[in-house]
Amino acid sequence: MELFNENNKLVSVIHKDHSLLPVINRLGIKLGFGDSTISEICKKEGIDPAFFVEIINVFHYEAYFPEKKLMNLSVANVVDYLIKTHQYYRQYLIPEIDRLLKLFLKSCEDHCAESELIRNFYDKFQTECIAHFQIEETEEFPFILALNSAVEGDFDKNEFISRYGNFVMRDFEDDHVNIDDKMFDLENIIIKYLPPNYDQNIGNALLSNLFMFEKDLKNHSRIEDHILLPKVNQLLKALDRHE
């Protein structure tokens, strides 16, 4: 496994795995980056190159997850990346899947009773995803950022305790398993069990987007469950020591 490093040209990285395009967008890179290396681009855009390289490696290589190394990443960077990922899902990927699903279900010319079932299933799934992102953004992430500031001394510890003393971190993992399962179910229902009277090309486009969402979500969950949660525990211990 040859990992990407900061001396790689970003264009070569993208040619190797174009599914990284939305990931580099989230990290603040836009198209038109010429022949620059990752390190040059990061310098220009004010991005931590070590963070950039770890994120694209974790995304590209499913087996690569160096927890110790990842635990050293800045909490603010990780949270910022996760929020931008949510934005990408909400503003682009979910509406795009929604649009393709509408086209796909409309393409059935006969009386397709299952269309309504699939629509219902997806609507509920979508609502669950968005609610999950919302809770993370309004409750979990602000707590994690405040905790990090309190440990680093940028935020008064007593103030932190009075504000968050009773706060209990939700375990993201159950939600993630539920979302992953439903995504997988939707793909299989469409691939295995749908009658063949739907437009196949729109179906393929819909499935490509579902697979992309699935891969992205898995990665996203991996970062939350295996970096963010252990990091919170580490910070809580550090805060106890300071008291």
Partner: protein, 200 residues
């Protein structure tokens, strides 16, 4: 034709750990009876066995004893020999049990083999699920918990969980709402049987 013939698994091993371990695991399978033998020649006590029989033993043991076993079990409808492999590195096969297989995988392989006996006789409908799994699926779509399903079918919760695992492995559908959609598409249940707002 008897619509519900015996489904018997015979395990032959000198090791009590293997015997009791497999017996415990196979409680979650479709087998109606599990017979544990230390040696192949003990089969002589079972000449009257009828139904579908799977014999599990090491490949060496099967090579040595399969023709003898077939002779004794002359009243059985079918006999399938399934090797039990202790080499964790060997290639995966649905026709071989491996020491490192998870309990659900072992049950799945045994169930597949038992079901394969029926495939030539024609299935009741076009789903690949067994009758028991369909019963479990119907109760899942009604929103029952594993415990409630176990009570209704007079089986243990462990058995229900094992059926649910098999259902998910066979259909590729994991969530209760996904399974409900599957059951409607496959006409196992009717939309009017459920509350779609709640279950899908």
């Amino acid at each position: 034709m008897n619509s519900n013939p015996n489904k018997i698994v015979i395990v032959i091993s000198l090791s009590d750990i293997v015997l009791t371990g497999l017996a415990e695991i196979l409680k979650g399978s479709l087998a109606s009876e599990v017979i544990l033998l230390h040696r192949a020649d003990e089969i002589i006590d079972y000449p009257e066995l009828k139904g579908h029989v799977i014999v599990v033993a090491t490949a060496a043991e099967l090579e040595k004893s399969s023709s003898f076993i077939s002779q004794i079990l002359s009243m059985a409808d079918n006999i399938q020999f399934m090797p039990f492999d202790f080499d964790s590195n060997s290639a995966h096969s649905n026709l071989v049990l491996n020491l490192n297989d998870t309990p659900s995988l072992i049950c799945y392989k045994i169930n597949e083999a038992l079901n394969s006996f029926f495939s030539s006789a024609g299935k009741e409908n076009d789903t690949e699920l067994t009758r028991r799994e369909i019963e479990v699926l119907q109760l899942v779509t009604k929103g029952y918990s594993n415990k409630e399903i176990a009570d209704q079918l007079f089986v243990s919760t462990h058995t229900v969980i094992s059926h649910r695992k098999n259902i998910s492995e066979k259909t590729g559908i994991k969530s209760a709402s996904g399974l409900t959609m599957y059951a409607i598409l496959k006409k196992i249940i009717d939309v009017s049987d459920i509350n779609p707002d709640e279950l899908i």
